[in-house]
Every structure is written in C-alpha cells, then in structure tokens.
Symmetry: C3
C-alpha cells in the first residue's frame, strides 16, 4: 500500500514565485441554471439580467449573466491554487469587468503572482495575484488583483525579496469598459423599477436599501458550491467547531451579492457593475445573521463617448442585525460600527436622461 | 449630504385610485433553470411539465412551465407596488390561466385597481387589483384578482368612495381556456402515474395524498427569491423576532405548491391548472412545519368542444403536523380544524377515456 | 362521499411476481437547470461535466450530465413502484452506464422483477429488480440491479417459490462501455485539475480526499426532490419524530454524490463512472453530519481497443465527523469503524499517457 501524494494540499508561501502563472482547474460553462440559482440565492431583481426581452431593447442578444456571478466563478477557480492555505483574504483591487458573459459561455481563470512579502513572524507571507477570467474566445470578462496571507510550509525557508505591487485605490473611470452593444435609448424606467437616472444622484447621497435578509447554512453553501469555490471554512462544521468562532463562516462574496441585490431598492437602474475598486470584509458573517445594506454615492462621472449612460462610484455597506436607517458606518476615528460586515467600493453603469 | 428619496417605501392606501394602472418592474425570462429549482423546491412530478417527450405526445413543442410557477412569478412582480405595506392578503378570485408558458418566454405583470374601501378604523383600507401576466407577445398567461388590506400613510386622509368589485365564487367552466394544441389521444397513463381519468372522479370524493413534507427556512426563502417576491415577512428573522409569531412566515404560495405537488398521489392526471376560484391561507406556516394535503372533488364538468379532456373542480386542503387520513377540514359550524393552513379551490384539466 | 382508492399505497411483497415488468412514471427531461442544482448541492468539479469547451476537446458535442445525476434520476423513478414500502434497501449490483446523457435528453425507467424470496418471519420478503434507464431514443443510459426488503400486506399470503438471481461481485471490465466519441488526445491535465493519469495509480493505493462537508436538511431534500424520489423517510420530520432515529434520514445516494465530488481531490482525472459494482450504506446519515471521504484503488485495467484511457476500480468510503487521514475502514474482523457510512465500489474511466 503506497502513500497518497495525489491529494492537493494547496500552495504554501514558499511555493509561489514572482511572475508565476497559475492556470486554474475546472473551466465552467455558465448556464441559465446557474442564473436561476443565483436569483434564488440572492434575490437579485435587476431587469437587464432578468429578462431577455429587456436586454434586447438595450442592444444585447439576450440577458447577460450578473456581473457578481461572473466574479464568484472567476474567483472560485483560483481558490485551490491561491488561497487553500490562506490565513486571511486581505483585499482586492483594480477589478475591471470586460466583455459581458452570456449563458453558454465557458469561463476559465489564470492568475499571475505579482507580489510577495514575507511577514515579520517568518511563519506567513502575503501573496498578490492578478487573476484574469476569460471566455471561450479568450476575451477578458474580469481582471482583478487580490492579496492573501498564506502559511509557510517551513518557517525556516528563506524569504523572497519583498515585492509589493502598486495598486490604484480607485479604477480610473477613463478605463471603464462599457459593452459596445449597449444602447440606453429604449431603457424603460418602469420595467427597470426606478425613475431615478444618473443625473439624479449626487456625491454624498446616502440610500438606505430598506430591508434585511437572513442567511441559512444551506444557502451560502449552495452558493459557493455553485461557484466551485473550495475554501474549507465555509463547508465543514465538524472542523469549524474547533475554530475561534465555532461555526462555518459565510463566503464574503455571498454578502456582497446580498448587498447588491438589496441595493435594487434605491439603485434599480445601476444596471451593470463596471469595476470593483476595493472591498473589505470588516467582520465575518454566519448563518442566522440578518443582512441589511445601505450605499453612499462617492462620485458621478461621465463616460467617454457615451451620452446615454454615466458611471456612479458607490460605497455599499452591509450590516448585520441592524436596520440601516441611521447609516451605520465609521465613526470620527474611522472605526467601524461593530454591526458592519462589509464595505464595498465599485463603479456601476446607469442610464442618463 | 442629501436625504435618500430613492428607496421605494411601497404604496399606502391613499396612493391607490380607482382605474389606476400599475406596470410592475422586472420582466422575467423563465428558463429551465427556474423549472429545475421549482422541482427541487416543491417535488412536483407531473409528467407533462417534467418531460419534453411526454409534452410532444400531447401536441406541445416541449414541456410547458408549471402553472403555479407562472402564478408565483406573475404575482411576485405585483408585491412591491401592491402589497409591500399590506397588513394582510385577504383573498384572490377569478384566476384564469391563459396561453401556456414555455422556457424562454418573458413574463411581465400589469395590475389595475378595481376596488377601494377604507376600513371603519380609518387606519387601513382594502385594495382590489386585477393583475394580468403576459408573455413577450402580449398574450395573457394569467389573469386574476386579489385584495389586500393596506395601511394608510396618514389616518386623516379622506376616504375614497367605496367600490367593491363583484367577483365570481367560481370561475365559469364555460370560460376555461384549454390550450388549442393539446391533444390527449396519446396520453400514457403509466408514464403519467395513474390509471384514473376524468370519468373516474365524482363530486364528493375525497383523496388523501398520503405523506408529508417538512419545510426549511432555506427552501421557502429560495422559492420566493426565485419568484422575485419581496414581501419582507418571509426574509428577515431579525425583524420577525419582534412580530407576534417571532418567526419568518412562509409564503402562502409555497404551501399551495407543496399541496399541488403532493396531490400527484391520487390526481396524477390532473395535468394542468385551468383556473383558481379562490384560496384562503387559514393559518400561517413556519419552517419546521410538516405539510400534509388532501383534496375533495367539487365538480366534474365537460369542456365545450373537447371530448378528450374534462375539468375537475377541486378543493385541496393543506394541513400541518397532522396526517390527512381523516380529512381534517371544517366542522359543522364551518370552523376549520386548527391544523388546516390552506384551502385552495381550483379547476384542473384531466384526460377522458 | 366515496372512498379514495386513487392514492398509490405502493406495492407490497405479494404484489410482485417473477418476470413482472414495471414501467415507472414521470419521464424526465434533464436540463442545464438540473446540472446547476447538482453542482450546487454536491460541489462536483470534474471538468468534463463542467465545461462544454472541455467536453468538445474530448469529442463530445457538449458537456455530458454527471453519471451520478443520471443514476439518481433513473433510480428515483423506481421508488414509487418498488420501494415505497421498503423496510430496507439491501444492495445494488451490476450497474453499467450506457450512452452518455446530455441536457435535453429525456430519461425513463423500466424495472423487471428478477428475484423474490420471502423471509423466514413471513412478514417481509426480498425483491430483486433489474432497472434500466433509457433516453428518448430507447438507448440504455444505466442498467443495474437492486434488492430491497418489502413488507407483506398480509402475513398469511402464500410465499412464492424463492428465486435469487446470480449477481456478479464486480462488473466485468471487458463489458464496460466507453462512449465511442470520447478521445483523450487533447485532454488538458491542468484544466482538469490533476497531473496524475491512469498509469500513476496502483492497486492498494489509498487517497485521503482531505476535507469535509456538512449536510443541511434543505440540501438533501432539494436533491431528492430534484430526482423526484418519493421515499418518505427523507421528507417528513413529523413522522420521523416517531422513528428509531427521531430524524429524517439522508438519501444514501446523496452521500455517494458528496463522496464522489470530494474525490476530485486526488482523482480529478477520473472523468467518468463506467460501472457500479456494489454499494453499502453502512450507517444512516443525518442533517448536521459532516462527511469526509477516502478511496482505495482496487484494480487498474486496460480497456479493449483503447490506448488513450484505462479503467480504475475504486472503493470509496464516506465517513462522518471524522477526518480520513487514517483511512477509517474495516478492522481485522471485517467490522467497520463506527464512523463509516458508505462503502462504494465502482469503475471509473481515466486518461492514459
């Protein structure tokens, strides 16, 4: 009887090197089945992604797949190679959505190591990767950077020369990619669910998305399995009983999706994500938590060559077990209200008048 | 920093006026993904809706979408405009299914206010709406009336002239719409799951559907999110902890679907709903409840111009945590057994010999 | 008011006779919706079933449906006629997968009674059936034998002449059906998730699949409803409260699927099931259990006429609430570790170098 070297133990800090390219496993054809599950798991109601007919009035052949579903699938593929031994997901930046994804498209992800920095403890290090999701034609559907803290296999292994990539705090609105086919001329506000267009929003405006949704274990586990994300902390109660929370942790991306779905109430015409500037999972969420959300408009920008649509930069906060009528956020010292679980900074596309 | 007037607070009683037309948001393309979820959430097993091949033997191009899935989607769209501030869903009537829905069809809903009556308290009123769901060709797929009790925003607002529409207790079987394409000549009883056809049922006959299904929070929430129904009582445990039940309430339509799915055992050839005469959610259901069901045949009617199929009028009761071998229903005074949660009165189509 | 003979009470032991053919109800068109749910409920990540593009590089027109999803659907149809009154599912054997199933195919099942043996108690008997699932062209997609212990309706009914079919312990590898279209020449190990091919495995090798997944009630109930399996022990908590466990029992096939999905970690190139030699549900599983899995390679066989792929015979064990690093299995007396819930013996297809 031989040993079993075939089980993937995941990469440790010393397995990564600068410039390394990681082609991730399990290309994934996205289908209307995935779309239906995404709707059932998040409650998303944006018209463009819900209706082939509505999408056709805007110039698409059919309804595109929700941008966050694309994000979760592209991200999920990178987990077995990048973050199976992650101590923490530290952040992400410079996320730019590319060509829209439609049911039938097949997504795969390649990541490149763009930064490495051992921590002073000598036991862990931070790995920066640039992950790019592409469709079957090789077109980028999403390009983003994330960085994670990863255990070293051997604390005695030598540290690499530290390289920390320079990352933008905000994706330059000049570089936002708006699908060429998209035309807003026949955009129907009533079917879309809101009379408020790009011109109606102003920096500093706050919107309570009014309402909360409770999370069940079955829901967040079905979501991450749909995304083929294998991070163990979400699945295994037997092991989690020994962790500091004693519970399975909800995938942070599920909270982003719930917040985005709730943001329909106040931002129904934010019909597409253009970019992810950054995101911070301020605190973990667990089954039984009820998630509320509110958003602040950070910037309103015109888009080069487009008079029918503009970009809004939003900061959406997800909050647990607390109504958002008072917009719980940071206090004067920048410290978060303890109910806040997510701060998400992103660009959306919205039709103009 | 400005206020946020963009959040939809829902309509209050004084926001409605007679003849008002409400085009509801989020047109929805129904897909095989929705159908698979409906099967997984309800356990429905009717052959016509499960098999493209079976549907072809009856003259359809493929399997139509379950009528109750259509009902839930058409109904769900009306919630943000009609019943977000509803104190109670009081009833529905005169529900007539139109052309069958197939995967790929896009549904949208328009409601017309056909009745208004302020309650004597002056704090609430009853709103009657006629909601019509249509496909992308504008054909009616479902036309029904429902009435809800809605809060007034301002108790001092003047009452409108009371108008209460006249509604039929039972949809006239002469007006039932049977899909023209449907031909029962090759109907296969064995594949359908029952040897009993229209002629085998008689008014007064009772059928125990034998078996119960327990409800989980994740299931009923996934169902209503799939239908894009936003009624808050179903989703938010944090808020529900303060209500008189202390719990999330299961969407009444989910109980209808569970009862219909269980009715396969005894009514497997009731292959299609033709009309909803009325429905009464006698008591709320909660996660953890186990639902049983039984049916009574109320009427057996021929259908004009059809010798291959007839209509049965059924009354199906859903009962919680109690076996239906004894047919729990109303006592001599018309009072329901406390285990009954639903009484549903409807017409179904069944093949004749 | 008449009695209700229309409810299917299921068959009792004396309802079966040798040579009897049972055409089961509810033909089922398999869709990408079912595939998405299967992924969400099991976490399966095999590239061939996940990606149309990957499948095309191997000669298929698109991604085939997971073999175990086919198994569950074919099996599920037989439940109302074969095992609704089953006291126990005793075993299965000689399961051979036939032509691959693709979304859009419609499956139906016919079972033939091939053995009957009354138990000495006179109260129960064992029924052996050969169930064959076919697609809409009548091609076999799965052919297997199972045997169940069924109650007698009347203990006084005479016993039939006992007939016990001879069944192979292992499906002859010479009879394994490999899809003719399948070509491994362009098989991409990296996208598939493993560099280990057929030549790298040896009999006796053990593989810990490293990781566990917890089961929720909503998940296993959604799975069996998706398969239209009506066995009551899985659904009804109100009745289960009276059984010896006090709980709903998880469908044994759900455990097989979880173990197969976990086996990706170590067997990612086991791209297709060819046959099921046998399976034993050693102990019941319940919601709240965390399932781990490990596999042993039993045999490595060449396939006639194929130089690009070989067969591995695997024995996969599912274990609850216990890590599999120590490969919990049978002790020297053949007695199972009490944590083992499943032993599954099967042939898989794997590309060769």
């Amino acid at each position: 009887m031989t040993a079993a070297p075939k089980t993937n133990p995941g990469n440790f800090f010393e397995d990564f090197h600068l410039g390394q390219s990681l082609r991730h496993a399990t290309p994934r054809t996205v289908t209307v089945g995935d779309v239906a599950l995404y709707t059932a798991l998040t409650g998303s109601r944006f018209a463009l992604q819900s209706s082939d007919e509505f999408a056709r009035t805007l110039g698409f052949a059919r309804a595109p797949v929700d941008d966050l579903l694309v994000f979760h699938m592209v991200f999920g593929k990178s987990v077995p190679d990048v973050s199976l031994n992650a101590v923490a997901n530290l952040g992400y930046a410079n996320g730019r959505f590319g060509v829209p994804v439609f049911p039938g498209d097949t997504l795969s992800t390649v990541s490149k190591v763009i930064g490495l920095k051992e921590n002073s403890s000598g036991k862990t290090g931070v790995v920066y990767v640039n992950s790019v999701g592409r469709n079957q034609r090789g077109e980028s559907v999403l390009d983003f950077v994330r960085w994670v803290m990863v255990d070293k296999r051997d604390a005695g292994a030598p540290a690499p020369a530290p390289v920390v990539p320079e990352l933008p705090d905000v994706v330059d609105p000049g570089g936002l990619e708006v699908p060429g086919a998209l035309r807003m001329g026949e955009y129907d506000d009533i079917l879309a669910g809101s009379a408020s267009r790009w011109e109606d929003y102003a920096p500093g405006e706050r919107i309570d998305h009014a309402g909360g949704v409770s999370i069940e274990e079955a829901e967040h586990m079905m979501a991450i399995r749909l995304y083929q994300n294998t991070a163990k902390v979400h699945f295994n109660q037997h092991a989690a009983a020994q962790n500091r929370f004693g519970r399975r942790i909800v995938y942070g991306g599920h909270i982003i999706s719930l917040a985005r779905a709730m943001s329909f109430n106040g931002l129904a015409n934010a019909c597409k994500l253009l970019a992810i500037n950054g995101g911070r999972h301020v605190a973990p969420s667990f089954a039984g938590d009820t998630i509320y959300a509110w958003s602040e408009v950070l910037e309103c920008r015109e888009l080069a060559g487009r008079e029918d649509a503009g970009a809004l930069r939003l900061r959406t906060l997800a909050v647990k077990d607390k109504d958002c009528a008072d917009f719980p956020g940071r206090d004067g010292n920048g410290k978060f209200d303890p109910a806040v679980v997510l701060e998400f900074d992103y660009w959306v596309l919205m039709p103009r008048r």
